[in-house]
Symmetry: D2
C-alpha cells in the first residue's frame, strides 16, 4: 500500500528529527528569541537573498493565513483571492473570524488572472459607493495553487505591478512552496522575495512536523508583531520547536538548502507517477499540474483496483463513468514505492 492521500500524512524528514535530538540538551530563550530560530532566520534570509527580511515562525497554515492577514490589513480592508483559494474554502472562516471579508474573483485552474484583478480594482475605485464597500487591501495567491498549478515569474510580476498600482499588498501562501519552487521554470526564492510583500514558507507539508515561516522580505512588518501574533494565540512559548526544524530544512545539503532538495525529489516522483498514469495506463489529467499534487480522471471501474495499491483522495465526479482523483507525493514518498506501483499497475 502506497500512501498518496496527502503531503501531511507522514512524520518529519530525518534531518529534522536529527536536529531535535542534537539540540535537545541545550537551554534557550523563548517566544522566538531562541538560538535555533535566530539561526533559521539567518539561513532563510540567505536563501531568499533578502538580508532585511523579518521572519516569524507559526505552527500551521490556516493559523498563519488568518493571523498575518489580520496583522497587516486595516480593519476595514478585505483580501482578494481566487474563489478556489484555501482561505475562501477550507479554513472554516478563519479570516472572517478576524473581521475581514474574503472577496473572490474567478479561478482559472486555481489561479487568479491579472486581467480579472485589474478589472475588478478599476471598477471598485471608480465606484461612487466604494466607501460603503469593503476596501481591498491585499491580494492572496497560493504557490503552488490548491490544484497544483503554478504562476510564471511574469504572471507574478504582473500581479505585483497591479498591487503596486492600487496600493495593495501581495501575499503568497506557500504551504507547498518546496514543491512549487522545484517545479517552476523561473520562480525562485529570491524572486519571490522581490515580488511578494509577504509570503510564507510551508513546513508542515514540506518535511517538518509542524511550522510555517512567515517572511516580510522587505523588512516592513507592522510594529508589535509579537503582541499581534500572541493575541491570535499563534505565539509559541517554546519557539525552538519550529526554529529547530527550519534550521534543519534550510541547512545546505549538497549545495542547496534541504528544503529545495525535498521539493525536487517529490516532484521527480510525481512526474514518474504522471508517466505511469498517462503513458502506461492512459488516464487523462484532470488538471495539468507540474507539482506534487497530481489529478487524474480515473474510470470508475478502475477505482477499486487502484485503492488496493494506493491511498488517494477522490476529488470530484467528472461524469457518470469517471472520477477525478488526487495523488500527492511528498518528501516521504520513496523511489521504491513508485517502482512497486509501476510493477503492480503495469501488469
Amino acid at each position: 500500500m502506497i500512501h498518496l492521500e496527502s503531503d501531511y500524512n507522514n512524520g518529519a524528514h530525518e534531518a529534522v528529527l536529527r536536529n531535535f535530538l542534537e539540540t535537545n540538551a541545550e537551554r534557550t530563550q523563548s517566544y522566538g528569541d531562541d538560538r535555533f530560530s535566530e539561526q533559521a532566520r539567518t539561513l532563510i534570509r540567505e536563501a531568499c537573498k533578502a538580508p532585511d527580511a523579518q521572519i516569524w515562525f507559526l505552527a500551521g497554515g490556516t493559523q498563519t493565513n488568518a493571523t498575518i492577514i489580520d496583522c497587516v490589513l486595516q480593519p476595514y480592508e478585505g483580501v482578494l483571492c481566487a474563489e478556489t483559494a484555501h482561505i475562501n474554502v477550507h479554513e472554516a472562516g478563519a479570516v472572517e473570524f478576524t473581521g475581514h471579508k474574503v472577496i473572490t474573483l474567478p479561478a482559472h485552474e486555481g489561479k487568479l488572472a491579472v486581467r480579472d484583478l485589474q478589472e475588478w480594482l478599476k471598477a471598485y475605485f471608480a465606484d461612487e459607493t466604494a466607501e460603503h464597500m469593503v476596501r481591498p487591501g491585499m491580494v492572496y495567491i497560493t504557490f503552488p495553487t490548491e490544484l497544483g498549478t503554478l504562476y510564471t515569474a511574469d504572471e507574478l510580476k504582473a500581479l505585483h505591478d497591479v498591487c503596486r498600482q492600487y496600493g495593495l499588498l501581495l501575499y503568497v501562501d506557500g504551504a507547498r512552496l518546496a514543491y512549487g519552487l522545484a517545479a517552476s521554470k523561473d520562480v525562485t526564492l529570491p524572486l519571490l522575495a522581490q515580488i511578494a510583500d509577504i509570503f510564507y514558507i510551508g513546513g508542515t507539508k514540506c518535511g517538518a512536523l509542524c511550522g510555517e515561516a512567515v517572511v516580510f522580505p522587505h523588512g516592513d512588518a507592522p510594529g508589535h508583531m509579537l503582541s499581534r501574533i500572541k493575541r491570535h494565540g499563534a505565539l509559541l512559548a517554546k519557539s525552538r520547536v519550529v526554529g529547530v526544524q527550519f534550521e534543519a530544512l534550510f541547512t545546505k545539503d549538497e549545495g542547496e538548502p534541504l528544503y529545495m532538495s525535498i521539493g525536487t525529489k517529490a516532484v521527480v516522483l510525481a512526474m514518474r507517477l504522471r508517466r505511469l498514469f498517462v503513458e502506461q495506463l492512459g488516464y487523462k489529467p484532470f488538471i495539468d499540474s507540474p507539482t506534487n499534487q497530481q489529478f487524474y480522471i480515473i474510470p470508475n471501474d478502475d477505482l477499486t483496483r487502484l485503492h488496493q495499491h494506493i491511498g488517494f483522495e477522490v476529488w470530484c465526479p467528472v461524469d457518470e463513468r469517471h472520477t477525478a482523483c488526487r495523488f500527492v507525493t511528498s518528501w516521504a514518498t520513496t523511489d521504491d514505492e513508485i517502482d512497486t506501483l509501476e510493477q503492480v499497475l503495469s501488469v
Copy 2:
C-alpha cells in the same frame, strides 16, 4: 550555569523524542484522526478515569485558553478569574480578541477565593441592570497558579459547587498540571476530571516540545468542535505532532504515566532548592509555593553572585534592598545540577 529561568527553555523529554523516531515511518490520518492521537486519548481517559472524556490537542497554552473559552461561552458571556490570572495578564488580550470580557476578582497568592466568587455572583444576579452587564459564563482557574500555589481538593469542590449553583462552567488551566499534581496532597487527575467541566493538560511546560490536551471529562463539548477550533487557526493538519507526544507522556513508566513522574521529579528538585535557599542561605520565600516555581526574596547584594551560577527571572522589587526572584525546575532539571548548586552556593 544552571538554567532555572522557566520550564519552557528546554527541548523535550527523551521518551517524547524517541516516540517521534519510532513512529516516523508510519502514514496516518490527519486533523486529529491519526492513530497516535487516538491512542493518546485512550491513555488520557484511563489516567483520568473518565471514559466519556472528549479530548482535543492544541499547540500552545494561550491558544488553548482563547479557543476553548470562546468555543464554550455564549457570545454575551464573560469569564471570571483572579486578577493575576494568565488570561488577564499575559495573553496579550487573546480572550478579548474573541469578543469576551475577562472579569477579575481579587487574587490571594494567585488563587481565587470561593467567598469572593460567591459574593460577586450574588451581587451580579441581584442587580437589576444585570442584562446590561457581561454575564458570567465561566470561572477560570490555574492549577497550579501563576505563583506556583495550589487549590486543595476542598477548595476545588467549593468552587465547583458555586459554579453549579449559578450555572457557570469551571475551567482549569493546567499549563503546569504535572507539577501541580505531583505537589498536591489530595488533587488527582480523576478528581480534576470529576470537578472541572473542562481542563487542559499542559504539554509544553511538562516534557513536550509543544501541545496541550483539552479534556471535556463529561463528554459534553459543544458540537462542531473541529470547525470551531479551525476557525481559531488552532487545528493542526498533521495532528500526530501532538498525538505522538501525549502518547509518550501518558504511557506508563513504572506503574504510572510518564507525565506523573515528570512532575514528581521536578517537584523533588524544587524542594531541594527550597531547602538550599531557605535553610542554608537564609532567604525568605516570597510566596509559599509547593510546586516547581519557587519565589524567594533575594538581597540585592546577592543577585550578581547568583546570576553567575543560575539563570533565573527577576520577579519584582520587594524593598530597596531586596528583590523577589523566580526559580523554575522542570522535567529537564537534573539532580546533578542541584548538587552543583548546593556546592557552589554553600561555600
Copy 3:
C-alpha cells in the same frame, strides 16, 4: 427639481412627526420597555397575524442585519445570499466584522434562485471536507431586492422549504418592505410572518426618521437578546424614539396600517413614472421592477436634460451611448411632482 435619488433623502411622514409631538410630555421606561414600543409591538403583531411574535427596534438597516445575523448564527456558521445582496456589497463588511462569512450564490435580477440554493446545499452536505468549510446557517434575501424585484409567494415558500430541509434559518431584509408589499400580488405581512424565521420591517426608507422593526414571528428568538443587541451597540436607551414612529406607522389609516398606504402611494407613483419613461419617452427598463425603485436605460444625450428636472442616481454604463439610471419614489414623493415631470418631459 424633483428628488428621486433615494428613499432616504427626506424627513418623516407627518403622522410620525405628529406622534412625536403628541407623546413628548410623557415620561417612559427605557431600553425597549417604553409604552410606545409596547404599543407598536402590539400593532405589528396584529398586522402580521403573529400573536407570538417577538419584536425589537433597532436604528438602521446595516446595523440590523449585522446584529441579528450574528445573534442567531452559531459562531462557525455563515449566511448564504445572492451576490448582489446588500450584506455582501454595501455594508462595508459589517457581517464579517461579527466573524461570519457571507457566502454568495448567483443573483438573478437580484434574486436568489431556489435551484441554485438547493444544488449548493446538496453539494456542501455531501462534501467530506464540509467540517473544514463555513457551515451555512441562514439564507438571507431582500424583499424587495436591491434591484426592486420581488419574490412570489411560491418562490418564498420554496426557499422556506429548502431551508427547513437543511436546517437553515430564512431571514428577510425588509428595508423597503412597504413598497414590496404594495407591489406584490400575493405576498402579505401575515404570509411573510409564516414563511420567514426572522424579518425586519424597514422604517428609515418607509416613512420614519430612523428605525427598523425586527420580527421573530414564531417567538423563538435566542435568549438574552437585550444583552446581545447591546454588545453590538444597537440598543437605544431612549427606545421610544423608534417606538413612537412604529406606533404611528402601524396605526390604521382608512382600514389598514399607515405603513401599507405609504407603500401603495409610492408604488402608484412609480408606475406613473414607468408609463412616462417607457410609453412616452420610449426608454427601456434596465430591470423590470414593480416597486418604488425604477431602473431605465437612458440615452447619454438625455442625461443632462433629465438632470435639470430630476435628482436621480447613475447606476452603471450599459453601452457607449446608454446608461442605466435609478429613479426612486417614496412616501414623500407627491402627485404634483409626477404631474410636473410629465409636463416638462413630455414636451
Copy 4:
C-alpha cells in the same frame, strides 16, 4: 408624580421637535452629507472654538464608545478607565466585542486618579513582559462621571499630560456633557477641545431624541471613518435625523447654544433638590455631585413615602436601615415639579 428616574425617560426638547417640523419638506444628501449635519458641525466647531474639528454623528452612547474606541486603537491596544466606567460595567461588553481589553484602575467617586494612572503606566512600560500584555492605547474618562462628579480643569490637564508622556489618547465620554459643563467651575467646551483627543457631546440625555456628536477637535481622525463606522453598523443612512437635532441644540438661545442652557436649567433644579433633601429633609449625600445626578442616603422608612411622589432609582443598600438612591433632573424637569416636590415633602 415627578419622574427623576433618569435623564432619558423623556421625549425631546421642543426646539429639537420644532426643527424636525421646519425641515421636514427638504430633500437632502445622506450618510452624513446632509445640510443639517453640515450646519450642526459648523455650530459645534464654533462652540468648541475648534475650527479644524472633525465631527461624526452616531445614534447612541454605547455605540459611540465601542465604535470610536475600536476605530482609533491599534488592534493590540486596550483602553484604561476607572473600574466604575460605563464601558467597563454597563455596556454588555461592547468594547470587548470589538476585540479590545478594558483595563481598570481604582475609581475615586467615579474618577480616575492621575497618580494611579501614572503609576500603572510607569509599571507597564518598565515590565519586561509588556509585549505579552495588552498595550494601553487610550485613557477613557466620563465628564461628568457615572456618579455625577466632575474633573477640574487642572485634573483634566494632568491626565492629558500623562497621556502625552506615554503616547496615549485621551477620550472623554460626554453622555451628560451639558450637565457637566453647566456645573463645572472651569471646564468649558473650548477647554475640552484643547485637552481631549476625542470626546463626544451627548444628545440622548441632553435634549435630543437620540444622537451623539463625536468630536476629533484637532482634526486628526484616522482615515476612512465612514467605512469604519459603517462596519460597526453605526452609520445612519438618513443622517439628518441626528443633524437636525444637533443643529437645534447648538443654535444660540439668548447668547449661548441651547445645549448650554439645557444643562444649566437641569443643574439649577438639581441644586434646589439638594437643598430640599439636605437642608429640609436632613438626608446625607451618598456622593457629593454638583451635576444633574443626585445621590442621597435615604432612611428605608422614608422610601415608600418618597416613591408616592417621585420616580427614582434605588442605587445600593448603605446599611440595614438606609439605602442610597439616585434622583436625576434633566432638560425636561420643570420648576413646577420641584415646587410641588418641596410642598409635598416639606410637610
